[in-house]
Symmetry: D3
């Protein structure tokens, strides 16, 4: 087992609380590392919250998720998937960011993910605020064209702007992505949406583009199996990205986030939703908006790490099958 | 939009974390303010916990709820209600209180709410411990006679006394209100009741008066729609008050409270219950027992602010319709 | 009421936050106290976490549970059971432990519980990590032979060892108990199991011995009544122990624990499960893995105290009926 | 050593975190316990904060101090004093209190301490807010007449009243005590006073009565030895009480308190000041205003427990010498 | 006393924890308020942390300082100064800011303070990160030309840039201010500087411009009176600004800050230093880098509020004397 | 600068909060890494608290210190020392440990450090509880014979045993080290000792062996320069180890520790003491007893990281000079 350089360090050799913290105890692989070319799925931190209009702190998300992710194990009990056995997974470190310049940060992040895209590595990112999804989608679209997306969130993140002319915030990434042609709204489904609106028309634009919004009320009316079926129908066979904002969850599960909204998903619902994506044509994913300073218990990071593991399971399955694995 | 002096400051002009904190970013209107006569619904803090026999701290509730309530927006996504568009709402500040004298505090609080009653302003209060509901009910009864009540709580708050002769605590307000003839027990429903009892007869008195108790077991057996229907049946067409003790919720949603009891409502259940009161003849409401010192994450205040917004939505709808609005 | 020396101090005489903290405000009874011989159920703290391979702190569990358990009252609202009226209950204090020696601690704990067993006192323990269940089971088996068990947990705790030859950790107690013949695997049911596995075969051994595992997925598929029925079927008429690891609950209910796993039981589900054990032939129980340093809100201890009360209710009912009470 | 029933449980028999928490691990002795008559110094909790005009929570002080006081050991390294060897010390439990009635609480507290006074037991109390010193002084004055006092505090606590006619708050105990003739202002010294004033005359009354105020500026100008000398000069040979409000300390040492003021004493300065009282004619003392809800780290309680031990050392020395011990 | 509209609400009318939180309970005065023209000193929040290269959260500083500043009283006990009696002070609210655009924020902040400058109001600001001092200095220089400064900090904040071309961060404000000619380096003194350096030359530039740096070692060697004398000598008779970064203090006093450095000033030292500035020609000041998310106890905000009061005292004295008051 | 593989990542390339956390942002070098042979000073985590008789959690120390140590910079402002420029420093990761077996852990730790000793690498360790110093001293003694030690602590850690026969706890390492001949008591000085004693003779043994104890009282009487001189006199020219228990500091600086004692050193005093060791013949050091679960603010880890940097400065100076650097 230890002969595989991509296998996580096991807790029966090194206690989980010990050792340098990498994502899920995977090897740390830099771009110039000989192992880089063999990586199938790259776990990446994006320590940046420059798009946050509310409570900051998501810049500290990757490090705390790394820390707690050393509690992740190997086999998904519910699905039986073993991501580390079917794909070469590695922690590729954090992307460069610039805490005092938004546009420079977006450029740095995109450049980083371009290297993964060129190397054929599927990205699984830990944010960072939700604006970090935009440069990742740009990168993926260079290869795949506009992609589909299963998006878990309390908010649609399709606002037009902020304070008039400011187009880039954590509330706008998917409007920008659609406008830029890197996200296909007709193959986009948003689950868990809730919370009061600024105005009636807040979500109109997105729905006009064809986004399928399943808000929390519809989620409960449909029931979980129907929601999964609907999400699968929307994204279909095409390349699909999974974006998980922890504020999709009720704040009791994820208090450490920028814009909490009560009345959200449970972690178990979220886990089942993600498991329900198995078999789709998945090409990457992210877990965003983990803001450790607002969570005295650290549970948000545990939830973020575990949801990342759930996404990894279905992503690895998809990568492996595409590869003929 | 900004020409309406009663409209909340929007987050797209002033970030939510900025500015003086008033309840839901509403204008602060004093009794001698020219705007006072135009207020329909007065949001009021009652910073007092002198009736608390257990963990104190609810005196700090109004300020922390004010702080976090700046995250509230305008449109209730589930119901479509827009309270700030159909009623003039304002933050009327805190009532006077006396932290070292219980009876003096009750008098000061009642005097304050009398002014609202005379001015025809419906009160929506943020406590404070649950004893603050008593002077509010007294005030309302001066206008309406004994009122009905939808009461969310883990406890019935109909104990007779404490330590023998002490009649006023946060466990006794509704017994006093019934005895004084300001609350109609036959039009009172209590939802979410649970937790161990001191003795078998603890709830007998209230039920003998005609209170309809739906404890947490019955709540789950009936299901949410039936509970709503039953609550509507109990209070009927008459004037009705809504009292929301945050300990109705499970402590994971509201750890910052005086007497937490495990096994409670979720916030989503509570939101739906309150939304189910739309169309009743509502005349006021409160959210009580938010005790910030016992909540390191601040989620209790977020829950309190959001539940207050839910009550405001149905209250504004009722006020607006009564007014022919 | 006060003439019964075994009755808890009531909150209407001494506020709940006042006085020396004993478990559920019961009298503190030492082995040489004249009352000892009359005790039916002994509440005991086991302040030890020497078997913990992950986050420590359960050694501080008993004291914090004692503190918060002064909020427990007398009558179980759901079941009507009044444990303090039907059994003589007492706080017997903490067992001796040795924080720097695992085997010595197990011996000290066993010796302590032997005294209860000899005196015919049913134990209800507050851990401590889960390894403390092993010496208790050893003691009970001296009287009853191998006992059955209803076990609530996120983990099966039937691993073989750790780091090769280390046989005693909080992940191995029930493998050891089965090997030693003090636990009957065919009369053991495990509820709430979840979380990723180290490897596919992790749970195989236990199931080969006959343990009935109801993991969280099966729990939700079966539904609560069927799970209760199945648990009752498994343990049958024989002597049965109840072991409640707080990590059976979702971490939002019990963040203060050594090995949290998201997606767990709610407290209400757990309360109903325990209530569903009424009428079984119960001989003791424990609540383990409460680790206060990892819970800034203290809710874990509240949950631990309340679950201990729920177990006490069904245990007292069983003890009382066995006694012909 | 263990044959002395008044000796604390040692950490080398029972780890400090284990066992029922009594003050300094002393035996718990009730009024009807045979040991009661042999007690020299009674450690008592006063779990009450009904006089608090600011942040509440001191009602929870005694229990948290009990918990952390199990870390106290036997010999004062600096002075060599061994209080448990020279006096019979015991935890007498908490006084009765009434959280919803101020005057009733003062009466209950006074009645409790009267029993100590009659039995010749010197009191060492853990508050509770500072108003609890008033009934204790009343009790002592029944025996000794007006007593002297060394008072550590950020505030003089000699305000006249509050809100007009309200005479009893945690800001007024020593004005009341002087007016009632139970405290001798000419033998009273106040150390550590600081913080902004409501008005110029705030402290005038006390100084007119003869109180010697050493505010924090004068404290640093005089230097510690001179302050000790001056304090000893003020109180002289007469019976003297020691009252230690933890807000005398800088808030970094005692954040968990009702009215913190920056720029205060260090714990080491406070320890030395108390040690400097050795040889005075001490008859009792208290440590007040420990409010656990405002201290996430628990350090305030540790400080409170250790300062209580320092006071105990000089008090025991005084009691022992008076007794001819 | 209450007839003065600029007098703070007193705690003997409204408890300190009650009421809308304004800075030091002063009246909230907008630019279009009739009272605006009579304001002498404007207290202003600057809720922005866009210049922060490390831990964010200072955007939340003004609100938490407002909250805790309701504990401030009227008379400086040490100096006898009564700022509210000698100057008209008001809370002017928060400046506009833009959380997603640094340059836009600087412009908005400058525009706000220009209005104060034109109206002849001396600013006392609560940050925000330290970059907010730059637009304030720009505004003041429009009136006074380059000003002098007494600067309390762990860092010199005279770095050239960040990541190459990024010139505006919370580490560069005073280099920019000197380059722009709004700050006179020869009349600038920096006190409390400490912490490891990036390189030897880190502070060279500033010292070449003539800044007088008194690092923590020199501070202790000189002693407090000599430091005050030296600071007074450096700034001389000219217009002088006071900038207080809470990281000048040891992190135990101010854990809630972006870049803590151990080994800092005590609050008492800081209070005395500020008091030592009485009589200088002071024209404004700020307290910056209070970051509530990193302070679970809230003490940082208490320290920030109290230091703002200390600065207010000497500023009001200066304003009053300039006015011939 | 970046061409040196041993140079820390600078904050002007990667923000301090970004990237994988290694100690002081140094390269992570394994035993089989080509760089290993060039390492001069090895920074090592020892994540173990199996010797803790009180509050556990030090097993989590290394990871939190790694996290916060990314705030460390390059040049010691006070001394001018640049450790990373004069020595090759690296993070060698964590030692193996066994959380459920004390003796096995000591063996694993010793084996790890033996590899450093053989490779000529000076160790600088982050604990872990204080028992981890024992295996390190054993390793060093294999090369140097019995070494001298400058020991900062609240406790002498020279107890004989625990519970009778248990010889290895965090209270006994230096008695064992002296008995084993790996520590020279005559060249050992202990600074900061304080707190109550179990009995009069508690420290006698150590002093009989020749240890020089400078308790906190003597520390303040002597003054810092004299203490430094005395410490230098005691250890002389011989090989000397530096052991820094964070409980040497007052608990306000280091609340996250197992056995806090009030009245301790300030961080500034500690920094100066360590700086005063420059020029001694230093061969290694450690910082121990950082227990993150007991520190909600994280300041203890910041203090631990900064003190480790201070020790590193004087150690690198010594290593460099020995090497003729």
């Amino acid at each position: 087992m230890t002969s595989n350089p991509f296998h996580p360090i096991t807790g029966s050799v090194m206690p989980r609380f010990a050792g340098i913290a990498t994502l899920m105890r995977l090897p740390l692989v830099g771009f110039d590392d000989p192992l880089f070319k063999d990586v199938d799925i790259g776990l990446v931190g994006v320590p940046w919250d420059g798009g946050t209009t509310n409570r900051p702190g998501a810049r500290h998300g990757p490090r705390q998720v790394r820390d707690i992710s050393t509690m992740v194990r190997n086999v998904n009990r519910a699905s039986g998937l073993k991501p580390f056995s079917i794909c070469n997974c590695a922690d590729l470190g954090d992307t460069p960011v610039n805490p005092v310049d938004l546009m420079d940060s977006l450029a740095r992040i995109e450049t980083f993910f371009d290297k993964l895209q060129v190397a054929g590595i599927a990205p699984l990112s830990i944010g960072g605020d939700h604006l970090v999804s935009l440069p990742i989608l740009r990168t993926l679209a260079k290869k795949y064209g506009p992609v589909g997306m299963v998006h878990f969130d309390a908010h649609t993140d399709t606002w037009d702007g902020y304070f008039g002319g400011f187009k880039y915030t954590h509330g706008t990434p998917f409007r920008r992505a659609i406008e830029e042609g890197v996200l296909d709204p007709k193959r986009t489904v948003q689950i868990g949406i809730r919370g009061a609106l600024y105005n009636d028309a807040e979500d109109t634009w997105g729905q006009e583009q064809g986004i399928r919004v399943i808000d929390i009320e519809e989620f409960h009316q449909m029931g979980l199996p129907a929601v999964i079926a609907e999400a699968r129908r929307v994204v279909g066979e095409g390349e699909t990205y999974v974006s998980f904002d922890v504020d999709a969850l009720d704040p009791v599960y994820a208090p450490g986030t920028g814009t909490p909204e009560i009345g959200g998903l449970t972690t178990l619902e979220a886990q089942r939703l993600v498991r329900g994506l198995q078999g789709l044509n998945l090409i990457g994913g992210d877990v965003v908006e983990v803001s450790p300073p607002f969570d005295p218990s650290g549970n948000t990071a545990l939830v973020g790490a575990t949801m990342a593991f759930e996404i990894l399971c279905v992503l690895a399955d998809s990568v492996s099958r595409r590869r003929g694995g």
